[in-house]
Amino acid sequence: MIDMFHVSKCYDGSTKALDDITIKIEKGEFLFLTGPSGAGKSTLLKIIFGSESPTDGQIIIDGRNYYRIPRKEIPPLRRRIGFVFQDFKLLANKTVYENVALALNVMGVGQREVRRRVLRILSYLKIQHRANFSPMSLSGGEQQRVAIARALVKEPAIILADEPTGNLDPVLSIETIELFKEVNNKGTTVIIATHDKSLIDRYAKRTAHLEAGRFIY
């Protein structure tokens, strides 16, 4: 489903954030991406998402080459990918409900269907009682679940999650990973970037370890 060949990424020409990365991720796979801070985990996810383009190498998603993705093809790609951002990217001037609904609105889903799906995912993540609040009035963990809800609500083919448990206590962390596993069981490809060694050990899933932009096996 996702194929990367010799992908490198240099921000402003200096050090390499990614250095000759080759990886094949199958459809329906569950992958942990680990490594110390600054190793390039976020960069790798951003390249798959089309918000950064590789300096070198090829990336193929569903048989399409995205090395230089034309501007017009970015929106359709992103509608098939649910991204949980490390800094959430929630809008303070909209309610929790509106933030999550935005992901469906941009796809042209009808309002009744939007309502049904948003309320369902919010109660699934146990934040339905916060639907009409601004994200800014929520705790870090609650905001994180809103960000996850927005990624999941469109039932994407691929989930990319950047430190999705960074703000959660151990119990909620496990619940969240269980949630991603459930989605994964239904056939969604899931890639999770995380520092959390205990989670990786607990789940014994495929793990790719990054260090200074290279994979260490």
Binding site: P75, R78, K89, L90, L91, G108, G110
Partner: protein, 296 residues
């Protein structure tokens, strides 16, 4: 797919955003309204002054004198000949008798001309000149053409008057052009900068929309609607300002300046023009400001 629900979404979304940024939106409309009103007032003044100067130019005339008198048939023939000369708009025959009559009218009540007989004033043609031929050089070419007519005794015109009029006209036109240009550029700057504020206030929203897969069209549509709404607001405000301006001045203005405040077009045409300009400026302003934030 969902285009009706999209439209509904765009409209409710832009109305909601207008409502939550009501002060900025009002500020934009008011700025737009004043800018449009100033520009429209400039046009009104310019068109009226130009029109008045053109009227003065209509007084540019050349007198053709010839000795003796002419039979009606000759007058008709001469008229055609004079009107055939390039640059001539019309020619009017003034017989010796009617020339005296005009003179007597002008000095009515006085008996200065009682002894004068009708034959003593020469008969003439009063020749009016087309607008394009009123500058000194072209006018003297017309005069030369008239002198070539054999039966003409003498040609009289005020070269000085023609020169002064044309220099005034040229100056007014140049000054107005420069002024209009400065005003236009300033107006565009004010409008785009004001609208940039509203777009800037929503840059996070634009970024997040792009991140969740919104197309360019989806991002732009609400701004388009907001631009239209703000443009309508600006159009209405500028129309109100214009009405206020003319209603205050019409009462106070001395008669000989009244031509300045006359609206060159009907009120409804003025309203429509201001609305369309306002909408165009609102939409263009939105898009110009938006372009900077679309590169994410």
């Amino acid at each position: 797919m969902g285009s009706v629900s999209n439209l509904f979404y765009f409209i409710t979304d832009s109305l909601r955003s207008l409502k939550s940024n009501i002060l900025t939106a009002l500020f934009t409309s008011v700025t737009l309204g004043f800018a449009l009103a100033i520009f429209a007032l400039f046009l009104v003044l310019f068109l009226n002054i130009n029109w008045a100067l053109g009227n003065i130019g209509d007084n540019t005339k050349v007198m053709l004198y010839f000795s003796g008198s002419a039979t009606p048939a000759e007058v008709r023939r001469f008229t055609t000949l004079v009107e055939g000369v390039e640059g001539v708009r019309s020619a009017k025959y003034v017989s010796s008798a009617s020339a005296l009559g005009e003179l007597k009218d002008e000095f009515s009540g006085q008996d200065l001309f009682d002894g004068i007989e009708s034959g003593m004033l020469p008969a003439s043609f009063e020749v009016k000149i087309l607008p394009g031929y009123r500058e000194p050089e072209r006018l003297s070419a017309v005069v030369a053409g008239l002198k070539r007519l054999k039966w003409v005794d003498s040609v009289e015109y005020s070269a000085e008057w023609a020169a002064r009029l044309s220099s005034v006209l040229n100056f007014v036109e140049l000054a107005a052009l420069l002024f209009g240009l400065f005003l236009g550029v300033a107006t565009i700057f004010i409008i785009t900068n004001t609208i940039r504020l509203t777009v800037y206030a929503r840059r996070d929203e634009i970024e997040v929309m792009r991140l969740v897969g919104a197309s360019d069209f989806f991002i732009k549509a609400p701004f388009f609607i907001e631009g239209v709404v703000q443009g309508v607001g600006g159009g209405v405000i500028s129309f109100g300002l214009l009405l206020l301006w003319s209603s205050i001045l019409v009462a106070k203005i001395p008669d000989y300046l009244a031509f300045l405040v006359v609206m060159p077009v009907s009120l409804s045409a003025m309203f429509i023009m201001l609305m369309l300009t306002g909408i165009a400026a609102g939409v263009a302003g939105s898009f110009i400001s938006l372009a900077r934030f679309m590169k994410i």
